[in-house]
């Protein structure tokens, strides 16, 4: 441009407009960006990112959803739409411990409803509610795949063998006293030990495998063709 031009700016098109996350912590962001890089489409990382954000805050806050939307190039409304489909994303604040009580068939037969009633009475909250001290959120769950130890209870996605009203009371007492904090991290934490080597996928290897699969597929089609 001419000498008088004060500026000539450009932006590489297609690149999402510069977005500055405001809520996610730097180490969470760092991991989020690594996750996004694993997928051909950034939006494929939406659910893993929701888990990361829930790990940071214990629940999926609107601020986090706005950050995620900006990072993967969708609207906040789409993040909400996706997250709200899944029971394991909490869109409202929860206690430090989310206690999920299975009332599905196996557990039901083994007294899950009575257990739930007991839990509601002893905690003083209805299913879905959080105790006044903000420590425990009680929720009713579908089959947790712990049918062999029915009725099954989970605390922050960790199985606990608390199948009777008495063991349940013990569990609550332990949680309140902080005696289980070593084994049960705060809600949202999926894995306590983050891999420090970072995330990487060998793209060449993926390409090799895909090519091999396509080839096998083609071969199968060809044999089918001759066979019939």
């Amino acid at each position: 441009m001419s000498a008088s031009s004060p500026v000539s700016l450009t932006r590489r098109s297609g690149a999402p407009a510069s977005f500055t996350p405001t809520h996610l912590h730097p180490e969470v962001l760092d991991r989020a960006r690594k996750l996004i890089a694993l997928y051909p489409e950034p939006r494929s990382a939406l659910i893993p990112l929701c888990h990361l954000a829930q790990g940071q805050d214990g629940w999926l806050t609107p601020e986090a959803m706005i950050d995620i939307a900006g990072l993967v190039g969708v609207t906040p409304s789409e993040v909400l739409g996706t997250a709200s489909f899944y029971d394991m994303f909490h869109l409202e604040p929860v206690g430090k411990y989310v206690v999920s009580l299975c009332t599905n068939i196996a557990c039901l037969l083994r007294g899950a409803l009575e257990l739930l009633e007991h839990a509601e009475d002893s905690l003083g909250v209805k299913s879905g509610g959080t105790t006044e001290d903000q420590l425990i959120t009680l929720e009713e769950a579908e089959c947790l795949a712990g049918c062999d130890r029915a009725p099954c209870v989970q605390v922050n996605s960790r199985y606990v063998e608390a199948t009777t009203p008495e063991t349940f009371d013990h569990l609550v007492a332990d949680l309140r006293a902080g005696r289980r904090s070593a084994e049960i991290p705060a809600h949202g934490t999926l894995i306590r030990v983050q891999r420090t080597v970072g995330l990487a996928a060998d793209r060449d290897e993926i390409a090799r495998q895909r090519a091999a699969m396509a080839e096998a597929e083609a071969r199968r089609a060809a044999t089918d063709g001759t066979a019939s």
Binding site: P6, V7, R11, S13, G14, S77, S84
Partner: protein
Amino acid sequence: MSDPTSVGDTADELTFSLDGRSVVAHKGEKLIAAAERAGVFIPRFCYHPRMKPVGVCRMCLVEVDGPRGPSLMPSCFIDVQPDMVVVTESDTVKKAQDGVLEFLLINHPLDCPVCDKGGECPLQDQTLAYGPGESRFIEEKRHFEKPIPISELVMLDRERCIQCSRCTRFADEVAGEAQIDFVGRGPHIEVAPFPELPFTSYFSGNTVQICPVGALTATPYRFTARPWDLDQVESTCTTCSLGCRVAVQSSSNRLTRMLGIDADPVNQGWMCDKGRFAFEAVNDPGRLTRPLVRKNGGLVEVSWYEALEAAAAGLRKARTDHGPAGVGVIGGARLTNEAAYAWTKLAKGVIGTDSVDAQLGDGLPAELVVGLPRATIDEAVNADTVILLTGDVREEVPVLFLRLRAGVRYGSLNVVELSPGDTSMTGLAAASLRYAPGEADELVRILLDVKAPTPNGMHPDEFADARRLIGSPRVVVVLGRGSRSEDETIMAAAAQRIAAALPGATFLPVLPRGNVMGALDLGMAPGLLPGRVALDDGAEWFGRWWDQVPAGRGRTTMEQLADLASPEPSMGAVVLLGADPWADVPDRRLVERAFDSPVFVVAVGTQIDSTTERADVVLPAASVHERSGTTTNMEGRISRLGQKLVPPGQAWADWMIAAELAVHLGSDLALESVGAIWDEIERLTPLHSGITSAVLGQPGAADGVVAPLSAAKVSLFRRRGRQMDPVAIPGVESTNRQGLDFRAGWAEDPTSGWTGRPAVPVNPTEERPSMLRKIPAYVAPVIGRVDSYSHRLMATRCLYDNGAAMAKSPALDALVEPATLAVHPHDLDDLGLSAGDRVRVKTASTSMVMAVRPDPGLPTRVVALPMNVMLDGVPDGSRHDVADLIDVTVPVTVVRLETP
């Protein structure tokens, strides 16, 4: 997206069996669409012909023969195959339909008597036609809080939602703004925006139109009418120059609702919210209803006779004092074509002045606009490359944004954007190059000069992409004004440069105001006569039919204002023809100086505004939807306007005002009806030759006809029936099915009613003057060096502004946000300012204090303000906008920012 109403060449046709008949369809066509064309209506909810099928509602199940016998398949989701055997009516299909409807009604409140959709509801209609007749559900229904606003304009009643996902798909697929989505799962699923982020899309009203139940309702329409009480006419939206085809509905002579009509070449069923909801301004009780004349300083209601006498006297005096050029006409872009012709004939043929200008200094030179080879919207969407050399299309001609976006997303269109800042198209563009306001022509020069290196600061790949793409065979330039605070010749020069370098390129002009193209085509610009004819070329011809033709070229709006503002004006009278220079001319100080002069002002308009305040005579005109005739859109497409209302009080159609004023000036326009005017236009101009009212009146021409006919590359009559789909356009189709009158256009039916008594005898076409052959050469002004403390000011346009259409429509007016100065964050840091702080903006001649906001989409050292939007943060709260800063005497307005 595929168009189910048109069958292409026979090569892609196939036959299949539909209910025992052999039916022709084309490859890739959805079964539901092929059946519909063959006259078999398959019920549906989620399917929409302009969106991708999803197959979620299952209402469209039909039996299709397969290897294992017939099975139920969703006809909206499968493509017709050769020799497919399809049964749409069988016990199995009926049972499936019963089941789907019974399940849908389980969760539906059935509150039809109090539901706005009742009477035109696809759920109601299809339950009656295909449903089981009774329900076995006796349990308690779902209950939600109702209704909840999802934006200022749209209310949601979740109980009624049948989860068809039409609204969410529209927001995502068509508008590209997924601000609403399904939240939850199973029976708890609901449509919702993100908390605190309402559904602000400019296109939100479309979701209301396509919702197949009463779940989404628009605030201006809710509870105002019952569909069966509505009367309707097909017409064209003239809020912007895109010209969406619409159904205008009214009740008791008040407009109640506008619906988009699926005009394939134009809006494809969609509308923007401004076009949809600005009708409230027509219902405004404060409309002008009586002629007014200024007496002893105040405006007094008088009779039409007295007002016209007063107007004629003032105009005559100006002509006596200063000659014909002493009279000017500003405006005309809000008129119908017929009224524009009548006013041109009055001004140029009776008064003899050429100082007529439909543009208000915010457009482009008229000769350039009418002289450049024109593209159609379809040509732009289907081009290889569109060069955007304009302001933000979503702000200026919203539905063009939807069309171009579809071209990029679902077609093979590449967009090369040249603009001073980010726009809604930037994310869709293959290359988006920035220029500093005032330097568009320079950037175009460099881009076209293959030897020129990549300019400093530009990404070399992106620049190379842009250069490669503009070399494609089919290039369309969308041409407008990137900024209103720079000289219009800059864009003109850039356009000419492209036209010279790329001879095959065609142009799609983006100019403000609805019928600006019609006004220019009918001679409402200096140097032009009706039909895109140069004054010199047409003087002899029009001299034969008119009293006279102006002796020489007249003044543009800006030249008229400059003359009036000069110490010794050579003009004595100005007619403001539906134009408000105080609101629209970019330089308000010039307007104020101009009208401080003793010039005699006649204002023809619909509302009380700054023009009426200054006028000596005020003539009340009919507003949109109160007049019939035709309008011309950006492509040159002439379409019919339907008159829906009787104008209030004594307001007249603009053409009648011209005709009567001519009589008071001692002449006779010999124009007696809208039809007669159109006939004269068709007989006299080279542009409209052959486009007779009979041609325009063909049902197949309901979407309009592109002028000139010689340029038409596609069949004239494109509208084919999509009459069977009750889900397509609420109301319109059901009225049609009931055999009720839904006339497209004329007050007089051109095919039967009006017999036509032409004022001008038939003349062979070859005698007509030719259309403009030579566009004057425009040279971009040299821009002086801008020092490093200054910023260039960019004046953009914003859809939601303080214009009359918005201000008098309460629902829309609430959406206007006060303007803040957009500044690049780095520049803000340099000034030590943050969002919301106030800044003093100084030009060479004035200064103002206003609030700032950061905008990373702008280049550094460029600041932006929208036109005609009142500023935020002005210390005494007084109303100012960017026009108070702009100085049109310099090529680009430069400002300095200081902390106040």
